[in-house]
Each structure stands twice: as C-alpha cells, then as structure tokens.
Assembly symmetry: none
Homo-oligomer: 402 residues x 2
C-alpha cells in the first residue's frame, strides 16, 4: 500500500479545521550582504515565531534531495501527491489559472500572439506586448474557428498570452511545439512524437492555418505560437482522498488552478496579503481545509530582492492574529520550495516548516527560521508527509491495522 | 520516474567541478580506551574542520538503516545507483580491479591456486601463498585452455589469487562454487542453480578437468578453486546519466574497478595519500568529476587499530590544502560505510558527511566528526542522494517541471 492508498483508507470526516499557509519560495540561504542571514532570520515575525514555539518544526524536501522543483510538482507534493508519478504539462499548468471548467477530454496549450513579416518570419514573439483588451478581442476571433470532431476554446491570459484548449475524443499530447522560441524563424509545424498523437498533430496544424487566415489583417498580432501541449491529468480529489471540503485562497492564477486540479474550491480574494487573510476569516466556517498561497516571497526571491522578501514575511506576520483568532485545529506553515535571493531562482534547499496543533509534540525551536529549524522535531522530511501529518494532527486519520 | 531517470532528465554539462573525497570505512563509534571518542574526534584535522564549518554536514546511510554493506553496494550508492536493484557478484567485483576490458558477454569468477594430494583432496587452499610471479606463469599456462564456443581469460591478481573470465553467448551465472572453503575436502563440482545455467556449469566443469591436466606436474599449485561466478552488469555510465567526464583516483584495484564500472577513467597514481592528491592536481583541468578513494581508514578499522585509523585521517587532512587550492565548486567528504575500530569490521552506522559549495546552506557544525554532524543540516540521509546534491550544488541540474 502506498501513501495515497493509505490516506484514502484511513481518512475520516470530522469537524476539525486545517490551514496550510504556504509562502511560495520561502526557504533561503545565508546572504553575505545581510550578515550571512536569510530573510526569515533577518526579518521580525513574532507571531510566526510563536507558532514555531508552540509547534513542531523542521524542513520539508519538495521532491528529492538536490532536485529543484517548478511550482507544479512542488504543490502536488504539498498536497500529498507523488510528483514523480503525476506530471502536469506546461500548457495545462498555465491554463489551470484561467476561469475554465476542464473536462477529462481536454488538451491545453499556452499561446503567444506574435508578429510575422510578409514572408511568415517571426519578427516579434510577443506582438509588441499587446494590451490584455486586445488579447481578449483576438481570442474571441479565434474562438470562432471550427474543426470537425473537436471543440476549441481560446482564452485570454494577459497581454500577448493566451491559452487554447482542444476538447475531443482521442486527443494525444506527445507533440512538438510550434513556437521556435526565437525571432527570425518561421513557426514550426507541430509534429507527433508517437503514432497515437499523429491525428492530433494534424488537427493542431489545421488550427494554425485557420488562425493565420483569421488574423491576416492584424497589424501586430498576425500569428499564433503554441507550446506545451498537455492533456488533463487524472488525479483523485481532496474530497475522495481525504474526505475534506477544501478552499483555496490565492492571488495568482496558476496556484488557483493547481488547487482546482485537486478538487479545491477557489475563493474570490483581493490582491493583498491582508485581503487573503480576510477571505480566510469570511469563509472559515464553511470549509475544513484551507490552502493559503502567498506569492510574493517567491517573486522577490526570483528578483534577488532580499529586503522585499523579508518585508513580505513581516507583512504575513502582521496578519497572523487574524488566523489565530479563528483557532484552527492544525496550522501548517511552509513554502513549496526555496527561492534564495542570492540565487535569484528556485532551488533544492529544504524548506523551513511548522506543524502546529494542540497534540503535536513540540520541540525546542523558539523562532521560525532556517537555523532554528535545524533542531526541530520534523527533521528533514518529504513535503508529501505534510498532508498525512496535518490530517493526523486534526484527528482525521483512523488507526492503520488492528 | 525514479531518481535515476530524474538525473538523466535533469543533468546538464557545465564547467563546474565536483570532488568526492571518500575515506573508506570512515565512520566509527566511541571507543572506551580513547575517552569514548571516535578516530575523527580524537584526531587533529583543522582543514577538514574548515570544510565542515563552511559546508553542510550530516550522515549518510549506505543502504538502509541497520544494513552493513560490502564495498560494492556501498560504492554504488555513493555513485547514485540503487544497490538493491543492481547486484555486483563477488567474482565480478574482484575482477574489476584487474586491467581488463570487460564486455557484456563476460562472466567473471575469482580463483585460488591450491595444493591437492594424490587423491585430489585439498591440503592447502592457498598453495603455500605462491609468489605473484609464479601466479603469472601459471595463469599463462591456463590461458591456453580451449573450450568450444567460449573465450577464456585467466588473469593473475596477487600471490595465489587470480581471475577467470569466460566470454560467450548465453553464459549464465546461477552457479555454485567449486571452492569448498575448507581443507581436507575435494573440490566441488559446479552445479547449476537454474536450468538456464546448466550448460554454463558443464562448461566450467570441463575447464576444471583441463586445468587439472595442465597443472598436474606442478608441486604446489596443482589445482584451481573458483567461486563467485558473476556476469557483467548492465549499468548506465556517468557520461550518459550525469553528463560528467569523471576520473577515479584510487590505490586499490577493487575501487578502480568499481569506478570503471560506472564509466570513470582511472588515473595512474602512487601508493601514498599524498600521491593521490598530487594526481588530482595534475588532472584537475581535464575532468569535471573526481572520485578520490582513501583505503587505509578502512584497513586499520578492520584491524581494530584505532590510532592508525586516526593517523590516516590526519594524513588526509595535511593534503587538503592541495585540494582547496584547486578551488573545486563542490567538495563531498564522506566514507562508503563505517568500519568501527572497536568492531574490527564494516558496520551499518551512518557515515559523517560534508557537502561544501558556495551555495550550500551551511549549518552550525564547526568540526568534522560524529558528534558535531548530529546537528548538521543534512540529517540522516541515503548515500544515494550525494550525487543529486553534488550535482545541484555544482549547478548541473535543471529545474524539474514548471
């Protein structure tokens, strides 16, 4: 029996409530410009420290030691799924964030509007970053394309970016991209990488021909480029796996999409961290699991902006009293991976983590940071264990065996 | 996807350089005669301590908790392969160290020259430990044996020890030994343990008959004993798996053989620890991965010689400045397993380990020993993760998923 099967067998419905507070890219490494401290070490966060003091701390490893994850696999792991078994294609991941009801027949891809010259050579892969309004108008035009045996949905994302979802029987996603990823080249014909994907490749290439015709009189966006063709994955939902009624609170589309993928409802929320906590407060009585996603720790990490990353942590800390007042049975504070400011990118470094409940076995950790977590009771463990531990601390798992 | 497939998918070629410094049998347990300290604790090694201080430390578990490994599986694990999936037979392991170009058709075995009386009863399993020169002469004689459908290579090892490699189609190695491991007995007929190995057993028994004929006028070495029949294993090489160009520096044949098995080139080097470091220096610019193997920590551990084991560690420490001057991007200091002097043998105890790079997340460990490593950032982890972590710290792994 694997972890997934164990969860399905042992999980029960109870009234207790679990909050996962995920600060994206939270983990960091010592920075020479900041006294060899990390943003968690350099910032002031008395409320998070109190949760750490009352909880059990340590580190989570998103995938395996040494493996730097993208957001997709990292979140699957946080949600208790095995990211080495379930692969979310790029097109699907990007498309998850748009307001769209996916079916199991869908194949998604990410699209760019581009500018081509009179010979069909790409001269601007982003079509001069057209406005989102322009993108909406163009997507409506492309939505009218008809191809036998397949439904086509063209959905704006932002500026020159959009998604195409093809819905039909027997679609297969082993396809090359049409986007050559370089200017000065013509777009590529999509090719099938296996025989089962051959007819899908033909269908997608037909879509390009029709799109070219539709866009031919556009000045900037006279071409589309598609990449990351990926079919909907078949994944067991939180409701069935954990018997949970989950709510996601996230400001960024991709994370809302990841949450939907595992069966979470997605709350309407504002753009600020405080509004996310307010949304938690408003919805607290109606759900029993909450995934709260804070994006900007990662964004500033990616920018190499140590100080702003530290400030986001302080901003989260100021909102913690809203969370504590709700008195959830279990609080998990973690990140999906590390994004060290010094590296300006995701990394493999284990992520500082707290599990708090009245029955967790608290350790000697008094503050929430990378150095203190070294003496935590969780040690270095797979992020996939956070859901079982969260469920256990919430009294939602029965005994295994007699 | 498993770790092996992940490494193959994510590894990229870069200019960065990784050094694995492996002190065989390094780990130890407190010794009552030496203030309940270990050789690492009792010895003076300021240079290793400095690497520990600047790196991230902890313990590696060679196979699984409680499992005492031989050198073969322990090294497979260090090299990032799963030793529970890949089994290296004893004959192959012993034969790996001789200067021989193995093919996938080969089946190896380890041989002893022995002395039999006129009834064919073994009276000396080691033929009076004949000289290596004698061994060479006898091996040349045996090399002339011809058997239909198989090529036979008889290669001297040392004193009474040699290797036989049978090369042919459809050889199978599920065979019993001919060596009864005791004097006063006749050698055993080799028997097939499965039906596929039946014809190979007949062939090997024919080889014995012919060897008896060849050696009949020898005074001491008038018989051969063979054991550990094992076929060449099929293992993906460092070049394909990690895109590395690896060099092995080792004084003992078996470790050179293990390194060859995973695709490493083997450097010519001297017998001393200093000569191994000099060899590293001379070859540093031409490779991007270096496996340095120090044997004597293990040898003295096996002898129960605590003080000499401690001295070997000090001797390694004196050479560390040669390594540091080369400024490798990643240094891993570890052992393949523990060989506690108090136990005079290999053990299962986790092995003190350092991973050093500019982007490792250093911990509070200031000295390199078993007690200090307890508070290291690596915790207790599988030795199989050293290669992924080494690769990650060297910037040789791309992100997994989007």
């Amino acid at each position: 029996m694997n972890q997934h099967q164990l969860m399905k067998k042992l999980s029960i419905k109870t009234d207790s409530k679990i909050v996962f507070l995920v600060m994206d890219g939270l983990g960091d490494i010592p920075h020479p410009k900041y006294d060899y401290m990390t943003p968690l070490e350099k910032s002031n966060h008395p409320n998070l420290d109190k949760i750490a003091e009352d909880g059990v701390c340590g580190f989570t490893i998103p995938i395996l030691p040494g493996i730097t994850p993208g957001s997709g696999p990292a979140h699957l792991s946080l949600f208790g799924y095995d990211p080495l078994q379930i692969e979310i294609g790029r097109g699907l991941l990007d498309t998850l964030g748009i307001d769209f009801d996916f079916s199991s027949l869908d194949m998604a891809s990410r699209g760019n509007f581009a500018t081509a010259d009179s010979n069909g050579v790409i001269i601007d892969r982003r079509a001069g970053r057209i406005s989102t309004d322009e993108c909406i108008r163009l997507c409506e035009m492309l939505s009218k394309i008809k191809i036998n045996g397949v439904e086509i949905f063209v959905k704006p994302v932002k500026e020159h970016r959009f998604s195409v979802i093809f819905r039909g029987q027997n679609l297969n996603d082993k396809l090359t991209d049409s986007d050559p990823q370089k200017e000065g080249l013509k777009p590529l014909k999509v090719q099938a990488l296996d025989s089962a994907s051959k007819s899908t490749a033909d269908m997608v290439n037909l879509f390009f021909e029709k799109a070219e015709e539709v866009l031919k009189s556009e000045k900037k966006a006279n071409m589309v480029l598609l990449r990351g063709f990926s079919k909907m994955i078949d994944i067991e939902k939180y409701q069935d796996l954990y018997k949970l009624n989950p709510l996601a609170i996230a400001t960024y589309p991709m994370y809302r999409g990841l949450a939907k993928l595992v069966g979470m409802e997605v709350a309407k929320t504002g753009d600020t961290i405080e509004s996310e906590f307010k949304t938690l407060e408003e919805n607290f009585k109606n759900y029993d699991y909450f995934f709260m996603h804070i994006k900007k720790t990662d964004s500033y990490g990616e920018d190499g902006n140590f100080e702003s990353k530290a400030k986001v942590i302080e901003e989260v800390d100021k909102c913690i009293p809203i969370l504590m007042k709700l008195n959830p049975d279990v609080i998990v504070v973690t990140g999906d991976h590390s994004t060290p400011a010094l590296m300006s990118g995701h990394s493999w470094h284990p992520v500082p983590t707290i599990i708090y409940s009245k029955i967790c076995r608290k350790d000697l950790v008094k503050k929430f940071n990378e150095t203190e977590c070294l003496r935590g009771g969780l040690g270095n463990m797979s992020a996939q264990y956070l859901m079982p531990l969260g469920m256990a601390n919430a009294g939602k798992l029965i005994k295994f065996g007699a």
